[in-house]
């Protein structure tokens, strides 16, 4: 939905009135400002470039050169090795499953509940809203949640990565405000034409809010792909590890791939394997990022603007 609080504000060109006749002082400020911002952007970017560059470099170059961003000779050895091990592929599969199924479940539950709560005439709405917001301020915490998940028999099931985090209260509140922005008259018209509550939701509200649902879906997808805490709490068997757990095992604990050491004949040095695994685990986000960034900004704003 584009008519949200955040986007209703008229977008402004950079102030035309300021600095019509730039004095030397202002010019200097502009230059310094650009340098500072450029430096900041570089600090954000360089770790990624360093890891990607090093993962493509030969072992010899890695030991010879201190800081690799663009390797002199490219090699895919580390990737060939990483992708030849069943471990990485399996973990990527687990993460993909959790991301796809989880996003679907979360969107379904969140949008249904958000729509119901967006109706001012729904009795008990205030109480439910309060109970939802309260969970953002206080929670049972790690141990009681762990016990509940255990008692439900979800330990070591991939559902334990999805169900305990199926609805994010923050996303729910954002989506509720999306739905509230839809004019009531549209729904009334549909109702006069004989639509039921569910019919209005499916035929009128959902098609109108596809963009915002996609935004929230992306929020969920990112958090499912990045799932880590749930996995170390609830997943025991290594064949059900999502990629984040495997990444920690390989890079920080420095085990995990050892079991597959005989997968290929030549084992590249540990350093480039680590980097290649980091890149493989990051790649889905990196590829999606340019497309989803603007939706994210929109979503983040709706939550932060009151009204």
């Amino acid at each position: 939905m584009s008519t949200t609080t955040a986007t209703r504000r008229p977008s402004r060109e950079p102030r035309p009135g300021r600095g019509r006749r730039p004095s030397p002082g202002r010019r200097a400020f502009q230059v310094i400002n650009v340098v500072v911002l450029g430096g900041f952007a570089l600090i954000c970017l360089i770790p990624f470039l360093n890891i990607i560059g090093s993962s493509l470099a030969t072992p010899g170059e890695l030991t010879r050169r201190a800081f690799v961003i663009i390797p002199e000779t490219f090699t895919l050895d580390a990737y060939r090795y990483v992708l030849s091990t069943p471990t990485v592929a399996r973990a990527m599969g687990v993460s993909a499953f959790v991301t796809i199924v989880g996003t679907f479940v979360s969107l379904l539950l969140t949008s249904l509940m958000a729509y119901g709560l967006s109706k001012r005439y729904l009795r008990g709405r205030r109480t439910i809203n309060f109970l939802v917001v309260f969970t953002m301020l206080f929670s049972g915490g790690m141990i009681p949640t762990f016990i509940v998940v255990k008692e439900l028999g979800l330990i070591d099931s991939l559902w334990s990565l999805i169900l305990p985090v199926a609805i994010n209260a923050f996303n729910l509140v954002i989506m509720r405000s999306f739905f509230q922005a839809i004019p009531d008259s549209l729904e009334e018209a549909a109702r006069i034409d004989g639509c039921s509550d569910l019919g209005v939701f499916v035929r009128i509200v959902l098609p109108l809010s596809l963009a915002s649902i996609a935004t929230i879906g992306l929020f969920y997808a990112v958090s499912y792909w990045n799932t880590y805490q749930s996995a170390i709490l609830y997943i025991n068997s290594s064949e059900k590890w999502p990629v984040q757990i495997l990444l920690r095992q390989i890079v920080i604990v420095a085990t995990g791939l050892n079991a597959d050491a005989n997968a290929v004949d030549v084992v590249p040095p540990a350093q480039s394997i680590k980097m290649a695994v980091i890149v493989v685990a990051t790649l889905p986000m990196l590829i999606l990022y340019p497309f989803i960034q603007k939706y994210f900004v929109k979503g983040a704003l709706v939550g932060s603007v009151k009204g």
Binding site: R12, P14, G17, R18, F29, N33, V34, L37, F40, A41, C44, P47, F48, N50, I51, S54, A66, V68, L109, L112, M113, Y115, G116, L117, L122, I128, V132, T135, L137, F138, S139, G140, G141, I143, T145, F146, I147, V148, L152, G153, L163, P164, A166, I167, G194, C195, S196, D197, N226, Q244, R248, V251, K274, I278, P290, Q293, V297, A300, S304, V305
Partner: protein, 336 residues
Amino acid sequence: MPMLTPSAPSSASAVPAAGPADAVPPGLAKDLDQRRKGSANPLWKHRALYLMILPGIAYFLVFKYLPMGGLVIAFQNYLPFLGFTGSEWVGLDHFVRLFSEDTFFLLLRNTLVISALMLLFAFPMPIVLALLLNEVRTKVLKKTVQTIVYLPHFMSWVIIVSIFYVMLSIDGGSINNLIVAAGGEPVRFLTDPDWLRPMYVFQEIWRATGWGTIVYLAAITSVDEQLYEAAELDGAGRLRQTWHITLPAIRPAIIIMLILSIGDIMELGFEHMFLVMNSLNREVAEIFDTYVYTAGIQNGQLSYASAVGLFKGLVGLVLVMLANRLAKKFGEEGVY
């Protein structure tokens, strides 16, 4: 799906008096209902809406409020096979133990020191960056910088800590390579307790600063252009315009973010610290969030760990409410 089980009985209670109207199509049923009773029972009239929010309510009850109730084990010696009801009650024993142990002061110190560093260094960064971005005239440049600095926000802590782990490592990490190339001694960033806090705060800044600007940039765009023009006529330079117009305009946003940060003083988050913690830096790294895991999951002291978690959560709740109250007292809007 096991999740559906608990919702089954409540679905029956939310739809009372499912009478003969069940047989007719929903739209018609509503009409009939209204005609029969005049104004229909609102619960029945909006039964579809209630059915729609039901799975969500079930989620919050099972995965949010059931664990909250489960906090009673903080006052028990909880044993899984005895359950919530069968375990022995011990009153405040776990809390007494927590407060009388040296660990408590270690945890409190570590948590508060890092929180203070975060408030001091990480909190102002997005404000500064937003102000700088606001001064950029070239649209393409601004967009490019924004796109780049938002990126780390989408990376998991595992990825971020892994990237820095490889870069900071003592054998062959790029940063240590550079230090050695410049004639220095390699630095044990990853294991030296003195480096833990700077590293932690730097990684937090690295990840969150760009994304944090969004709120402030939005607040800045709502400033009335005429204010700047008037200030310019009065001879105010850029710095004074920023100080007297832009900063006051984003003050509500700053206050709200500050309230939220203060509420999180006790809750730094589990994942990041857990990932950078190791046996060599544990003494400065262990915070309440990680200690709950260490005591509860690794050492199996479920009740004691719950008590630690409850203490942390209650202090957090009180802090948020205090900060909110304070903000309102000073004429700000507050969050809740």
